[in-house]
Amino acid sequence: MGKTLAEKIWADHVVRSAEGEPDLLYIDLHLIHEVTSPQAFDGLRLAGRQVRRPDLTIATEDHNVPTLNIDKPIADPVSKLQVDTLRANCKEFGVRIHSLGDAEQGIVHVVGPQLGITQPGMTIVCGDSHTSTHGAFGALAFGIGTSEVEHVLATQTLPLIRPKTMAVNVTGKLKPGVTSKDIILAIIAQIGTGGGQGYVLEYRGDAIKALSMEGRMTICNMSIEAGARAGLIAPDETTFEYVKNKPHAPQGAEWDAAVAYWETLQSDADAKFDKEITLDADALEPFVTWGTNPGQGLPLNANVPNPADIADAEERGAAERALTYMGLTAGTPLKSLKVDTVFLGSCTNGRIEDLRAAADVLKGKKIAPNTRMLVVPGSARVRLQAEGEGLDTVFIDFGAEWRNAGCSMCLGMNPDQLTVGERSASTSNRNFEGRQGKGGRTHLVSPLVAAATAIRGTLSSPADL
């Protein structure tokens, strides 16, 4: 019987396997940031261990860094200590780091692909659940905890139980104004936040093949929101074209050898997935979340749901609690909701294409009264590129704030936070209670919906303009 893509990559990385034990898997790339690494480096020091492969490791500062005044010392002393600790650890252990102010600094999942160190067929880990982003290249990429970060630093391997595989077939063609963000929000609404648990999701079908690399990254990014540790898309010409000529792409004869291998990275026609689901892209509309988990989403044209209509008692309770927290009444049209803040950024939608798409909608318009918009590029490189294209002027003329790179309001760890009761339309990936700031109310949307919402001040899609 044939193998799925996930099974092929897995098999190519097994260092050791023994009956009744997890497989020991080799890790091709380890990405590091300031929040989940200090305790791991501490563990190494205590045990007198080294970083086994600094040349397969790279660090950046993203979660905790300010997006304003980055030329000045970090104002919050606790944040500063964490960033300083990362810098000192990288120096001590010989790990490459891209610090604030460096052109390659940025969100770890934006930095890997833009440097070309994210390539098909690799195993990639990071102490961050959105490592699934890199699956867009046909790499097996997943988030790990700090104990595992230490394990990878010390051994460049991880003991892991082989996950099951699920095919997610996205058939048909997206309508204009509907994006990859809407695909993934619809998938999560369909299978739920636990639906992907224990699986690697492989996204397939015409609608996926038609996407750019950045669109594919948006989808794989949010696999974790469906409970899956990893999401995958088989590499193709679009992938090779994207990787080619990036700084760390293979060169010359190595490029040819790499492509020859990458071309084998497809699920075999007779491969059997443990589960299959299908989504019809033709029928898809712009999507938005109304609740406090990413599975609580609906088409933008819908109304706030009535918990009384939900049969399952757990889900009904969760919906009731979500409506209270979100300050919503059942039956209200989602499009009538007034939004205070629009956040364009994050590892889900903070890449150049996302900024271009939003700028296209905003160009020549003015922001709605009493609305603020934060535009936070995913990396310093994306920011430079956007400035080269004049996008910064478009955003600033519109009335948005043009910031430096980082995670920013995606998780509200730095000063970019919502206040109590403030409602946001956000291109990020999590609408959990308090995620963007204590008491903040998050609606997850695509960059196009974010832009249209900033113009009208209520949840909107470009079609409403």
């Binding site: 260092v15 050791r16 009744g20 997890p22 020991l24 080799y26 091709d28 790339l29 929040v35 989940t36 200090p38 305790q39 501490d42 261990r49 600094p54 040349d55 397969l56 790279i58 905790n64 606790v78 200590l81 964490q82 490459r96 070309g116 160190i117 390539q119 690799m122 659940s129 790990i144 905890g145 700090t146 104990s147 595992e148 394990h151 010390a154 051994t155 460049q156 636990g194 648990q197 224990g198 974790i224 409970g227 700084p247 760390h248 792409a249 293979p250 190595e254 490029w255 050898a257 790499a258 291998y261 988990n293 757990e314 309770g317 969760a318 998780l411 760890m413 999590r430 959990f432 308090g434």
Partner: protein, 199 residues
Amino acid sequence: MEKFITHTGTAIPLRRSNVDTDQIIPAVYLKRVTKSGFEDGLFAAWRNDPEFVLNKPEFQGATVLVAGADFGTGSSREHAVWALQNFGFKAVLSSRFADIFRGNSQKAGLLTVVLPQEQIEAIWEAVEADPKTQVTVDLEAKNVRYGSVTVPFAIDDYTRWRLMEGLDDIGLTLKNIDDVTAFEKKRPAFKPETLPVRS
């Protein structure tokens, strides 16, 4: 890591599903560079509410958390596990855990036990009726006991062995480090390296 064989203590019923790691410990508490002191951030937003179950006097000192389905979804922060441990929890029971949270718990020695939802509800009712109910989580016997009830649970033998011996994974892997070296010799040359820096 401390060995886990069996533990007996009182329990807290957390009647919520989809408790994500941002609720277990909000991001603003993640700035510390140690593994201790996270108890102040545990369920920080909910603890402002005097009615929240962790604040109720009758549940003080509990060491077993009994939670709704899909506990620990979201961010990979192991700080969520440390916060639960720092607060005093030894075991968490739920009908479903998020994968990364479960993995992190098993590395750090916090036992996560999967029970069917109706068993979780039965325990909720028992401890709500009598908060002094002693709940035993027995990894050796693979069961949970309270009052006259015994509920078996499943866990893979390897994880159980590691937890019962208190073994750290890195030490185990280093025993096989020659296999890693041999694997490295066969890796294709086209695989990228982060050093030297190219631009």
